[in-house]
Amino acid sequence: MKSNTLILHTAALFIMPLQLMFSVFLLFRGHDEPGGGFIGGLVASGAFVLYAFAFGSEATRRILRVAPRDLLAAGLLFAIASTIPAFLAGQPMLTAHWWELPLPGNSYLKLSTPLIFDIGVYAAVLGTIMTFVINLMEADE
C-alpha cells in the first residue's frame, strides 16, 4: 500500500517531524500535565503510520532504523531497567528514585525512574503499533 498523492507526500514530510517532536514533548511533560508514555507513543505511531501510508512500509522500516519488534523489546527492557535502582537499594520493586541535575540558569533537570519507566511505555506502545501496521501492510503487498 503506497500512495502517490503529492499532497500526502508533502504533508507527511512536514508533519511527521513536528508530530514526533510533539510526542517527545508529551512524553516528558506527562508527569505534570496531560500526556505521558501512552499518549506520546500513540502520537509517535500516528506519525509513522502517516509516513507509512505516504511512502510504504519499506521506507518506514528504513526511517525507523530499528525493527518494530526490537523497539518493543527495548521498551520492555527500559521499563524493567527502571526497577534496578530500587532493587540495588533493597526496596520493594518499582520504588521510585529521583535525581535532580542542575542546569545552567536556575533550573533543574528532573530525572527519575518513573521517567525511565514512561520512556519504556512510550517505546513499547510505538513498537506494538508499528508491528501491527507494518506487518499488516507487508502482508498485503
Binding site: D32, E33, P34, F38, L42, V125, T128, F132, L136
Partner: protein, 115 residues
C-alpha cells in the same frame, strides 16, 4: 448526568452483545469494539462524573485547591483503552487469518474446522 449516561451505557451494552451474538465474524469484532467502549464508559460513569476539574495539580501546589475528578478510574480506563486496542488488533488479524484458512466468515461453519 450520571443517570442519563447509565441508560446510554445500557444501550451500548445491548448493542455490543447483540452484535457479538451474530454469526458473521466481522460483526463479532464490531461488537467487541462497542463492548470495550461501553465498559470504559461504565467505569467512568460509576466513579462519578465531574465537570471542569481534571486531576491535575496547579504548579507549585502540594494539594488541589478544590475537589477534582477521581484520578484512579481514569488511570484504569487509560490502560483499558490501550489494551482494548491490542486485543482488537489481535482479534482482527486472527479473523483475517481464519478467513484465509477456512474461507468463510460464518462462525457456525467454523465449528467443524478444529479437527
Amino acid at each position: 448526568m450520571e443517570s442519563l449516561m447509565a441508560y446510554v451505557v445500557g444501550i451500548l451494552f445491548a448493542a455490543a452483545i447483540y452484535m457479538m451474538l451474530r454469526r458473521s465474524i466481522v460483526k463479532l469484532v464490531i461488537g467487541l469494539m462497542i463492548l470495550s467502549n461501553a465498559a470504559n464508559l461504565l467505569i467512568f460513569v460509576v466513579s462519578g462524573m465531574t465537570r471542569g476539574a481534571p486531576p491535575l495539580l496547579p504548579a507549585g501546589a502540594e494539594a488541589p485547591a478544590s475537589a477534582i475528578a477521581d484520578p484512579l478510574p481514569q488511570a484504569l480506563i487509560l490502560t483499558a483503552i490501550v489494551i482494548a486496542f491490542g486485543v482488537l488488533a489481535f482479534a482482527v488479524v486472527l479473523i483475517r487469518r481464519a478467513y484465509e484458512v477456512v474461507g468463510t466468515d460464518d462462525l457456525d461453519q467454523m465449528k467443524d474446522t478444529d479437527t
